[in-house]
Symmetry: C2
Subunit: 152 residues, 2 copies
């Protein structure tokens, strides 16, 4: 998923968010943010490690990821294997859902129609309320076979 605004804005927003927390916008953090900005779905720590060509050692990478996550800059989730995957938080990229290939495990971002999204939000609030929950959001994973895996 691509940043919703100009490239510079993304880094400016991230820098500001980090500054609020007295955290520095260091090389590793910048590398991670830039890499995730070009990704089209959530990436694992080892995927990032490889994608950054080993520039950031794994232990430092994990520390970087947890700082960015705690600052609300990244969102973490877990794929079917239980491996953590990270992506830019929705206030930076816009609300979206995931297309998950049940065969190869690939995950891609997708957006759904605004009206469908509005309906979902209403539906979700109603269902939650029925159980005494106050809804704060929702997550939809569309499971299927990706183009490559469709042909077996």
């Amino acid at each position: 998923m691509t940043n919703a605004t100009r490239p510079d804005d993304l880094e400016r927003q991230v820098a500001a968010r980090l500054a609020e927390r007295d955290a520095r916008f260091t090389q590793s953090r910048r590398h991670v943010v830039r890499f995730l900005d070009t990704a089209d779905g959530p990436i694992s720590a080892s995927g990032l490690h490889a994608g950054l060509d080993g520039a950031v050692p794994l232990s430092s990478l994990y520390r970087t990821l947890s700082v960015l996550e705690e600052a609300g800059i990244l969102a973490r989730e877990h794929d079917a294997d239980g491996t953590a995957r990270y992506e830019l938080a929705e206030w930076l990229t816009g609300h979206h859902h995931h297309l998950v290939c049940v065969r190869c495990g690939a995950i891609e971002d997708v957006e759904i129609d605004a009206e469908a999204e509005t309906e979902m939000t209403g539906l979700v609030a109603r269902i939650a309320a029925r159980r005494g929950f106050s809804a704060t959001g929702h997550r939809i994973d569309i499971e299927g076979r990706c183009p490559a895996c469709r042909s077996q």
Copy 2:
């Protein structure tokens, strides 16, 4: 979530499915199936271990869980912490979604209206097709605060 049919039917179906695979319906497997049948959401291995009062040692429990999962009797997913949680597969319980408390991590099963479900299925197929995916299913997590966590 409660079994959709008579209690006996659940165990009969599980036994049959295991038999097809030349696997036995042993004590541990029966314990796990019974416990999950009374649960109202997916449970972790350690939750089961505790729930079964240590009757099944963890290593055996993990083996039990993977046999049942591979037989299609259980579905595995991962919670926000990345811990695996198990529940009876949907062909045994019916299609449903999850209500997830963003504060305490509790997960409860919920069903949504049949019409909403039908709409979702259509929407999902459309979105998937647009990306060259063939949709096989969908998963919705409703995030919110549970009754206990609502009051902080």
